[in-house]
Symmetry: C2
Subunit: 229 residues, 2 copies
DNA sequence: CGACTCGTTGAGACAACTCAATGGGTGTGG
DNA sequence: CCACACCCATTGAGTTGTCTCAACGAGTCG
């Protein structure tokens, strides 16, 4: 769409929060811009982390191959999110595969380069730490959900989290702005495909959600939050 | 046991890795030592994070209250581990309650103080980032386990993780060096108390583990790893 | 010796899973 | 432009694994 976005619009997102102008400038100059077509993969599970990505526009899907060899969706990430941060900072293999869910623009830094920048500019380190901390927190929450919530509550939580991460106000309600299939929902929930379909269908009948093909719109977030407990 | 441990033995653990002598000295001087009796609580879920803890000796249990108001075990932490790191660095409420599982000595820093130290000594930031990153990684792994492994495999994984975190070689095999009840195992696994008991009982009959009161010894880690998939 | 906590085992119920069949959208190629 | 293949979704029927509930055993502590 926009071949040459303004610099100011790029110097946003996780790594840039509360950075002073000069540091932001340095960080931005060190980055290269890349584009991924829908479906293209940013990196594969198991790869050595050579680059850190920050999403400018678009959407990334993180998947994992389970022991049976099937791809399962772990989470989605949208504008401003850091992709691959844990692996890069920690220098271990990527724990998941990242693919573009729609045409996606990213900023990226070589892992050596970003580590160097961080050691020279503590403010960047702080941002990195905050981001990773947030991720850890989310995972703890999700883990707790898995153990002490029933299936319905888990599906509701996943839906609400999706809305928060990649949702937008649309004409009908809170739309999830990316192709999300029942399969995706079921995998993120730890529920079978069919159960997810049945639960969502039930909610549609009650007017909680509107369902389309690979598309979910949340009509009544309050009631859904109630279901989530 | 040892009322005045040598400084060198204290300057170890997550926050001290690869620190040069002078920085380690500064970090250690800023810390205060505290002792917690078995069962004492370091902090409560929901508290504002005023202090960061690093375990010198002993053991800490992290628990969470679920919506029904019951305490459920999240994980254990042993010597060298940072407790409460995400909350302190991120300055959000503790997501869990920490209690000493046995008499425990810790180093602790005020949250303002440690944040200040980190901004002045990037090497400390790096250690913090690594620790938080490891935690995030573990949580992602656990989450994936929950969704794509069966109950037996999950119990096996939890056992192996416990052995790795708080295990020691003993006369019989790999002992888990802390009171771990069936309830703990079931909560960390997302399985009912009774199912956990039955699964463990079955393994005892097959010679995979030895079971005692609030005690589990892994006799055959290889076979257990096989069960874990 | 009680009282308490921790653990085991059995029997029954039910929720979620598996399997199978059907129906609509979407996109492609002749 | 229609036909076909493919993907996504729904629904039903049957099965099973896990949970629930209840009773009992055994170790530990005061």
């Amino acid at each position: 769409m926009n071949p040459a976005p303004r610099r100011s619009s790029l110097a946003r997102g996780a790594l840039f929060t509360e950075l002073d102008g000069r540091t932001a400038e340095i960080l931005l100059n060190a980055a290269t811009q890349r584009h991924f077509a829908s479906g293209a993969t940013l990196f594969h599970q198991g790869d050595a982390p050579s680059q850190l990505f920050q999403i400018s526009t678009g959407l990334v899907r993180l998947t994992r191959v389970n022991p049976e060899g099937e791809q399962t969706t772990l989470r989605f990430m949208g504008a401003g999110d850091l992709v691959g941060c844990v692996a890069v900072f920690r220098q271990v293999a990527f724990p998941a595969t990242a693919t573009a869910g729609k045409p996606t623009n990213v900023l990226c830094w070589g892992s050596v380069q970003i580590l160097d920048l961080m050691s020279r500019h503590p403010a960047i380190s702080v941002n990195a730490l905050n981001t990773v901390g947030d991720r850890a927190r989310e995972m703890v929450d999700r883990l707790a959900e898995m153990t002490d919530k029933g299936t319905e509550a888990r599906v509701a939580s996943v839906l609400l989290r999706l809305v928060g991460q990649v949702g937008r106000h649309g004409p009908k309600g809170l739309e999830i702005t990316t192709p999300v299939t029942r399969k995706d929902v079921s995998e993120m929930t730890g529920v079978s495909y069919f159960t997810a379909s049945r639960i969502l269908g039930g909610w549609q009948r009650q007017g909680l959600v509107w369902l389309g093909r690979a598309r979910i719109v949340v009509l009544d977030p309050e009631r859904l939050a109630q279901v989530a407990g």
